[in-house]
């Protein structure tokens, strides 16, 4: 009987052979919550636009450029942290001499939380996880004899981003650079800090206002600077599934966009400077579809909802890297293999920039050796695997295309849920997002601990091995003392009167709800400290009260 149907109705027959139930196999659900079929066929993509989609053309499902990696492979950018501005300066010179052109700068926790090195709450933390910044002098030391037109600097900073960006601009202006051509990026995504990572300072709404200030200022004065990188990455690492990672990141990017538009700036004047930072671990096809579907949806949002005219406003530009969440302390060499898969996923998804965690990062400070393996993993893929030869090699795959469509729909649906929660700003302020994400993290952790979610070396194929010793960035009391001495000396040298006037100005602008960039740039030029500026702002804005849901 079935054979008869095959010859008369091809589509129906495909459908009748597809589901897990029909094929009598166990059902499979992706982490994002929906089922995948054992087989996909042409009728799964029958209604899709895929036939007409071309790389480099709207809606950019297949990639934002026509030839992608054929011209130039994705950028490799590894993360690095150095304790002092002096060490950072040495590192910059080393990199430039070796032909590199970019570096991520990490900051210590006091700088990230808006505390000066001499604040009692900073004790034991100065210079521990990154560079310590108190005043503009630290920036001037870090960038001494560096040609800012030759090196692009990525600042991993959020809570105090407006001050750190102001310092970067102030430093460039003082050194005589034309800031209208100044390049570089800042992470500056405060909304994700409330969900994961935790370096928030001010209440949610005021925090968003400060991000909008930086975008508005850069659009007018430093149009080549990328002031925001919206991070799905940390949201996923906090427990969100792949659909939520994209949905929440898009809601966040829209919140910043809405704020900028309210200031009377046109979408095409800043949208192309927004970029994204996403996470990769888990099911290979799910991640690839997440990026392809997400890229299409973001293009549609920018064009259809916001009315952008320029193609590059619609680009989902991204750094997509292997997430720490997938790596294990157990049998750590397996992480080299995992990272190679993550790199493959990232390349097959058309990323602009790639970064991989080192295999030993789950328990220690990556060594030069492990960092080199990460670098070689990406280089082997570029030079030996033919990954750069052809754009979007999975385009047209029944499964990948069907899943891409599904992701576009599911991300849209999840964004609607956030709207029902009164929008992303409220959903974060009242802890709704944090609660749902943390419940999922719990479910996942219990899944791994009970063996329901298989993890090689952790709950299957385990073996007795020596426990890995955990190591930290060493805390150097001398480094901290040097930083404190520098702070004391600059405080003695600067004009107390000018400092007071500048801080009053910042405060007044905050009261008048003006863009704070100009007054903060003026303040940092007089060597006001990060802590002093944050304190002035707190007096007007207050502080975020963390919603507790236990």
């Amino acid at each position: 009987m079935k054979k008869m149907e095959v010859s008369t109705d091809v589509n129906r027959t495909h459908r009748s052979l597809k589901t897990a139930k029909e094929l009598n196999v166990k059902p499979v659900f992706l982490e994002s919550g929906f089922e995948v079929n054992p087989v996909y066929t042409a009728d799964d993509i029958a209604g899709s636009d895929i036939e007409n989609e071309i790389p480099g053309e709207y809606p950019f499902t297949r990639g934002i450029h026509p030839s992608m990696y054929r011209n130039k492979p994705f950028t490799i950018r590894q993360y690095a942290g150095f304790a002092t501005p002096e060490e950072t300066n040495q590192r910059f010179h080393f990199l430039i001499n070796n032909g590199q052109s970019g570096l991520n700068v990490a900051f210590d926790l006091p700088t990230q939380c808006g505390l000066d090195s001499d604040d009692p709450r900073a004790f034991g933390e100065v210079g521990r996880v990154g560079m310590s910044i108190d005043t503009l002098e630290d920036f001037e030391i870090a960038f001494r004899n560096i040609d800012l037109n030759k090196i692009t600097v990525s600042l991993t900073i959020n809570g105090t981003a407006i001050i750190i960006i102001a310092m970067y601009i102030a430093m460039a202006e003082k050194a005589g650079y034309d800031i209208s051509i100044l390049r570089g990026t800042a992470q500056n995504d405060i909304l994700k800090e409330f969900i994961g990572r935790g370096t928030w300072i001010f209440p949610v709404e005021k925090s968003v206002k400060l991000v909008v200030d930086t975008i508005e200022y850069c659009a007018a004065h430093a149009p080549k600077y990328s002031p925001v990188s919206v991070c799905g990455y940390h949201i996923r690492e906090s427990g969100a599934n792949p659909v939520q990672e994209m949905a929440y990141a898009f809601c966040i990017a829209k919140a910043y966009t809405d704020g900028v538009l309210e200031r009377g700036i046109s979408i095409d004047d800043f949208a192309s400077r927004l970029s994204f930072n996403f996470d990769i671990y888990g099911n290979l096809f799910e991640q690839i579809a997440k990026f392809r579907g997400g890229r299409r949806l973001w293009a549609k949002i920018i064009k259809e909802e916001y009315g952008a005219k320029n193609n590059n406003s619609c680009w989902l530009r991204m750094i997509a890297g292997g997430g720490g969440g997938g790596l294990t302390k157990e049998q750590p060499m397996n992480n080299i293999v995992r990272s190679a898969y993550y790199a493959l996923i990232s390349a097959l998804s058309g990323t602009q920039t790639m970064a991989l965690c080192s295999y030993d990062e789950a328990y220690t400070i990556p060594t030069e050796y492990s960092a080199e393996i990460s670098l070689r993993t990406m280089q082997i893929m570029i030079h030996e695997m033919g990954i750069c030869d052809t754009v979007d090699p999975l385009g047209g795959s029944y499964y990948v295309e069907a899943l891409t469509d599904k992701f576009e729909d599911e991300i849209k649906k999840e964004m609607k849920t956030v709207e029902k929660w009164d929008g992303i700003i409220n959903a974060i302020a009242n802890g709704k997002i944090q609660e749902s994400v943390s419940k999922q993290a719990y479910t996942r952790e219990i899944g791994i601990q009970t063996g329901k979610i298989p993890k090689v070396g952790v709950n299957i194929y385990t073996k007795k091995e020596e426990a890995k010793e955990v190591e930290f960035h060493p805390y150097n009391a001398k480094t901290a003392e040097t930083q404190l001495e520098k702070l004391r000396s600059i405080k003695a040298k600067r004009s107390t009167e000018k400092v007071k006037t500048c801080l009053d100005h910042v405060k007044q602008d905050a009261l008048d709800d003006k863009n704070l960039m100009p007054s903060i740039i003026a303040a940092v030029k007089e060597y006001c400290t990060v802590g002093e500026i944050v304190t002035a702002m707190k007096e007007v804005y207050g502080e975020f009260k963390e919603p507790i849901f236990f």
Partner: protein, 137 residues
């Protein structure tokens, strides 16, 4: 039994502490969570105000020894004798050191929720179900 979960210092990594909060609640414990960036004094104040039976500190930045010493001092100062525990990125050599300083237990990352629940069940006394204070020795 009521357990205070806390995040001392500037470290914002709270996935683990929240996972534990869910786990303890599922196992029938009452949980109070301080939120991020609390000083040891603030944590102890909350412990006293909420009449908790134990204090857990989640520390992933490597500052556990400094913070544990501070906790010991503040507990002594306030003459509080409830058990306090440390969890997070802790090298095995420091687990012994933390217990020497005065921590009742230290659980490194990778510890199973089940094991921590088991620990709290083991120190639970029958009459404590009603939240009576002064419980540790």
């Amino acid at each position: 039994m009521k357990i205070l979960l806390s995040k001392p210092g500037l470290d914002g990594h709270d996935v683990g502490v929240k996972v534990l909060a869910h786990g303890l609640k599922d196992a029938g414990f009452q949980v109070v969570y301080t939120g991020l960036r609390k000083t040891i004094e603030e944590i102890v104040d909350i412990a006293i105000a909420d009449k908790v039976d134990a204090i857990c500190m989640s520390i992933l930045s490597g500052t556990h020894l400094i913070l544990a010493k501070k906790m010991k001092d503040v507990m002594d100062e306030r003459e509080l004798s409830i058990p306090w525990l440390v969890g997070g990125n802790i090298p095995s050599k420091d687990i012994v050191e933390l217990e020497r300083i005065g921590a009742a237990r230290a659980f490194a990352t990778g510890s199973h929720v089940e094991d921590i629940v088991h620990y709290f069940n083991s120190i639970k006394k029958p009459h404590e179900k009603n939240g009576s204070l002064n419980r540790c020795e």
